[in-house]
Amino acid sequence: MDSGTGEGSTSFTDDYETFISTTDVDLLKRAWRNEKAAPEILQYEAALVHRIKEQIELAEQNVEASEADGEDPLTMSLYQMDLDRTQFLLRSYLRVRLQKIEKYIFHILKTDESLNRLSDEEQTFAASCGDDLRAHLKETVLSKLPTDYNSELKQSAASEEDDMVPAPRLDSFVICKARQYISGLDFEPEYSHEITEMERDLLTFVCYKFIKKPLENGKIDLV
């Protein structure tokens, strides 16, 4: 490991630069990438989405106002492009989350940990989506099966666990990059044999569950 003093000082200035130059769009982009690359649903970035929505609204008003004023069409088209890019990011972020909710609907509904990561709107969506899917399965298949086999969560009444609920695979591999040097203390102790440290900015293929904790703490980005 070459984490000498020289490296420490550069990472300090870098941190300072990111601190002063990070916009909400950068943060949203990071949230979007992490969300797309992670197998499970991540914590909803409520404050960030709120701020971005406000900025989008403001920009929309500005574009409309300058359209009325007969502002320079070049400048306006540039503002419109910036707006489009931000809206694309936000929509894509929200959509990826909806896709995950649909995919793992029963799993999310029955684990509080996942359910708490959703926004209020997403929770409403998940509840109604779960009801619809359950009703559909009942109507088409389950109601015609013997009593022991008519659960949408279990293969049969003999199953101890809910063994028909698709769950995200936490052992799938992701590609990540550490934002800073990560030591063994940043990882969950149970994985300390598997992974001990991570260099800054080095691309690493790694099992998602090993890096779950540093990812949640914002020390790692998924790529």
């Binding site: 197998p39 070049l74 088209s77 492009m81 894509s92 992974i195 293929f205």
Partner: protein, 208 residues
């Protein structure tokens, strides 16, 4: 859902990777006077004729398409540097240092700013050669995949994206086989008789 990768949640489409690359900064020389642009993604400008300024690539391309600026090709795209990188790529197993989005940036510049790149044919063929050598390296490197965590220095965004799905599944399979007695394979146990996992000889697991 245009522009969305629906089939596999975790995959970025090449368009999405390009979208990310368009936020990288490049230097332009505008030929018009324009006030500051206060974008959601940051403030740029004011712009004065003949005064170079850093802007995101998407903005540079938008101005370029309207004939309002020339783009200064980034330093790493000089023939000297590219020749050196190509030699390095051929001689060593490691990846040479190039910007994370070098594939996308060079493509966008070749497509939209060809008149701003001196000796474009030379530059273009160098970049293509470098890309080919590196993609080949990526493919041969796949044969050496064994550990539960693999690190690569200086790999670029497109290169990562190409091997993401394959290597992800491969590593997952390795990991699962190494830890077979710890993690029951959900896909298989579902449609077979439940196996008694304790019957198998326990292996002492060692991290590689």
């Amino acid at each position: 859902m245009a522009g969305q990768s629906c089939s596999q949640l975790s995959l970025f489409t090449p368009d999405e990777v390009e979208f990310m690359a368009e936020d990288e900064l490049v230097e332009i020389v505008p030929n018009l006077r324009m006030d500051s642009l206060n974008f959601i993604c940051g403030d740029y400008g004011p712009f004065y004729p003949q005064i170079a300024i850093q802007v995101p690539l998407w903005l540079a391309l938008a101005l370029k398409k309207r004939g309002k600026c020339t783009i200064r090709p980034p330093q790493w795209m000089s023939i000297d540097n590219l020749t050196q990188v190509l030699e390095g790529e051929r001689e060593s197993h490691a990846f040479q240092s190039l910007p994370f989005h070098y594939v996308e940036i060079s493509r966008l510049l070749f497509d939209h700013a060809r008149d701003d790149i001196p000796e474009i044919y030379m530059v273009r063929s160098l970049v293509e050669d470098i890309r080919d050598v590196r993609f080949h390296k990526v493919e041969t490197n796949l044969e050496n995949f064994t550990a539960s965590a693999v690190t690569w220095k200086n790999m670029a965004a497109m290169e990562v994206n190409i091997i993401r799905a394959f290597s992800g599944r491969a590593l997952q399979a390795f990991y699962r086989h190494e830890n077979e007695q710890l993690i029951p394979d959900l896909d298989r146990t579902q449609d077979r008789q439940p196996q008694n996992l304790n019957d198998r000889p326990r292996r002492n697991l060692r991290p590689r």
